[in-house]
């Protein structure tokens, strides 16, 4: 039953409406890879829009974390579906680098706040304090 469905999916040309529907349909009750990737793309977009429309640098940092998380999700799901541990390794490194980035970024914010009592990103346009 499922074998024939999958075999039929293989016959379809790439990019056709039928093959898109096949790639979005769960087989064996298992979530298709494309669902994870689409969720990750939407989360990434939400984070990117947040970076653009927010004026508070701390919230911008949080939106960057959201984007990093979305990328992590696609790494892990691709690694899972390809049976490769590399996806998880990348996600671990992304998490470590994100932690370092947050530490340094918040330190920068604190020192900016000390020097000008205001951290609206539109006001921060000088490299020197």
């Amino acid at each position: 039953m499922h074998e024939t469905a999958i075999a039929a999916a293989g016959e379809m040309t790439r990019g056709s409406a039928a093959s898109i529907a096949a790639s979005l349909t769960p087989v064996h009750g298992i979530v298709p890879l494309s669902w994870y990737l689409i969720l990750s793309a939407i989360l990434f977009t939400v984070g990117a829009v947040g970076v653009l429309i927010k004026r508070n640098p701390i919230v911008i940092f949080m939106c960057i974390e959201l984007m990093l998380n979305a990328v992590n999700l696609s790494f892990v799901s691709l690694g899972r579906y390809l049976g490769d541990a590399g996806g998880m390794m990348y996600a671990i490194f992304v998490m470590a680098v994100a932690a370092a980035e947050v530490a340094v970024g918040l330190g920068i914010l604190i020192s900016i706040f000390r020097s000008r009592e205001n951290i609206n990103v539109d006001e921060i346009n000088l490299m020197r304090g």
Binding site: D84, A85, I110
Partner: protein, 299 residues
Amino acid sequence: MPPELANFFSAQVMLFLVFALGALSTGVTMVLFPNPVRSALFLVLNLFCVAVLYLLLNAYFLAAVQVIVYAGAIMVLFLFVIMLLNLGSPDRAQDRLRWQQPVAVAAGILLAATLGGVIASSVPAVPGIPPDRTPVDGQDFRVGIGQQAPHARMMSMSGAGGGGATGDDRTRQATPGAVTEARSARSADLVPRIPYEERERYRRDALGTVGGNTITRIGINPQTGQRQQYQYHFDGIGQVLYDPEQPWLFAFEITSVLLLIAVIGSVVLALRRRNPHPVEVTGTGTAGTDGSAAEEVRA
């Protein structure tokens, strides 16, 4: 219930839908709330939802790290800084780029539509069960993304036959016809090099024991014949991460050095300067050099 419908109502699909919706809604709410504290709390919820998705992907270790490090440590740091600086939402009146907001939303919708379209049209209909390998037994981890690979594997499964042939040989035997011959020859290069029986055994085991629901996965080790947990188990992560044959060990060391530098850097950045008027005193040098010079003098 017809089997097509039953596919949609497995526990895995339901859990995915619930927590994907949770992740999306908390992410959008985080961006929409003007109060940074509420944004941070919604980001914590979002990270929890993504951690559950990691569990669904068998990434137990990452789910734990996500909750402990991200939702725990990093978000506490965020909340700490928000409350330390006592920030409200910045005044919208001094927004210099008023047109940026609608343009950003429109561009975001465009980006999401493009990414979604590319994913939906180019990601193959993966049959869900990946070619299972254990990171523990140190096979080669070469992986290619094969459009035809899952299909060819399924085709070869429907053919009869046993024996000790490897996966590639058996794929060629089991699929008659010139077209499928070419396809399986292509897939032989794309499918990771795993003995066919081993792969089949994991697949059947995953389907048999937990009904195709791969939240947890117990497999039978072909060497020892014992049941053991496969893929993304904690042992496997450590063995892959510290394996000198794999590229991760050097990156791991570099990352630890990076963390050390970040710790020192943030301490230096947040250090309170002793000199109260660093710029006004000289007027020429930067605040940093003046402050450190003053500290040296004091010392």
